[in-house]
């Protein structure tokens, strides 16, 4: 009974296309936690959003029993800790493995995604430089899958999806569609076989398919962003 009451007090503010909102929705789905999804308008942020996340004014915003949290990876760790006894565990048990999980999740946020989002912005030589950086970052993730506790396992988290998988899985549809928009392969199946296989596996997981953003919607969004940038660049 108590668990039910707790879950009815769970709310998530965001829009479906957001990779960061997707992360939280994945975690809630994996844990089997019911929640109210309050749809926001990315072009017209509500008072609720601006008041509940005055510092960053971004989605996702997570509500649990009247308490508010923002920042997707912080929300992920909160969900894991608040529902610790609910399988699956999204974090490993051993402190060292937990540190590694946090390291790679932070790598996705601090290095990988900035390099990937940056690809929409550049042309010519700068674009080439940005591509090189992104490819190097993806290679590091390939290495992470190849070595230590990930070695031979289906996910960064081991046999099951964990923090790093969710961190990278949230923006997965964006990554795949960005490749199409700029016409450059970022995760080449020949060069990055493990990461490529991981992406296919993650996208095909039944539980997650309905949560991942609509590819057509994301493609349209990214194309529009790219077109906007290209229209402001000086003619060659």
């Amino acid at each position: 009974m108590e668990a039910c009451r707790e879950e009815s007090q769970v709310k998530l503010l965001g829009w479906r296309r957001s990779p960061y909102v997707t992360r939280v929705r994945i975690a809630l789905a994996l844990k089997g936690i019911d929640y109210e999804f309050i749809l926001e308008d990315s072009e017209n942020k509500s008072q609720l959003l601006l008041q509940s996340n005055p510092i960053h004014k971004k989605v996702p915003v997570f509500f649990h029993n009247g308490k508010t949290l923002s920042e997707s990876t912080i929300i992920l760790e909160y969900i894991e800790e608040a529902w610790e006894t609910k399988a699956p565990n999204l974090m490993p048990k051993h402190p060292y493995d937990r540190a590694l999980a946090r390291f790679w999740a932070a790598f996705v946020d601090d290095k990988l995604l900035p390099s990937v989002w940056g690809l929409l912005k550049w042309q010519g030589e700068e674009q080439q430089k940005a591509v090189k950086e992104s490819l190097a970052n993806f290679s590091l993730l390939e290495e992470a899958l190849r070595t230590s506790s990930c070695s031979g396992k289906a996910y960064f988290g081991g046999d099951e999806i964990g923090l790093v998988d969710i961190a990278l899985g949230g923006p997965l549809v964006h990554i795949k569609n960005l490749e199409k928009v700029i016409n450059i392969a970022l995760v080449d199946p020949v060069k990055l076989p493990l990461l490529s296989a991981w992406m296919a596996r993650f996208s095909e997981t039944d539980e997650l398919k309905r949560i991942l953003p609509d590819p057509a919607d994301v493609f349209e969004y990214l194309s529009a962003k790219r077109a906007k940038v290209m229209s402001t660049l000086p003619g060659i």
Partner: protein, 236 residues
Amino acid sequence: MEACTEEEQVKLLGWLRSPFVTRVRIALALKGIQYQFIEDDAENKSQLLLQSNPVHKKVPVLIHNGKIVCESMIIVQYIDETWDTKAPNLLPKDPYDRAIARFWAAFVDDKLRPSIGGVLMGQGEKQQKAVEESLANLSLLDDALRASSCSGNAYFGGVEIGFADIALGGGLVSLKAIQKVTKTVLVDPQKMPHLCAWIDRFFEIDLVKGILPDPVKVLERISYLRAKFTSAMAGN
């Protein structure tokens, strides 16, 4: 006995001047963990550093029983979790309070540090914008501390220093130096009384006093950096 053996195997790679290394040294000192400090050279990074942190090539690097942990606040969490039976706990017990501590630590790294970096590196209008941003960010921290003190807490986390205090405290000597070198007042006692009180309190902690970097050396370094940035801009 086992505890002793564990502690003998703790090494920390870094340089004393670094705010990030300082964070880890504070955490180790709070927990009373003995370790070997391996001093590296910022201008001439050792093979050990480059090999143990190939992804970021940065300090601090913690080596515990041969296992390597990077990224200062990830290391602090690792220390807290590995030595979880050793008081004090650096993160609170409650999942929500832990999330808030992580939020503020992330705020220091993702918002505050870049804005203060902008003050150090910028000139003219760009620097002015960075000053305004820094003031806004520091005000938010002042607000958070005001809320904490309303709950009877002298620090972010509670009655003792914790995760968020360590995140902010590691960079205090640098912050003072940056204000001096750029002749800006970022920590305004009139507008940020709680933050100022927290800073004074932090500097008075005996354990912290012994660890904070030498202000003269930090000032020297910050002056050098300022000269480097301004001459680079003048050269353009």
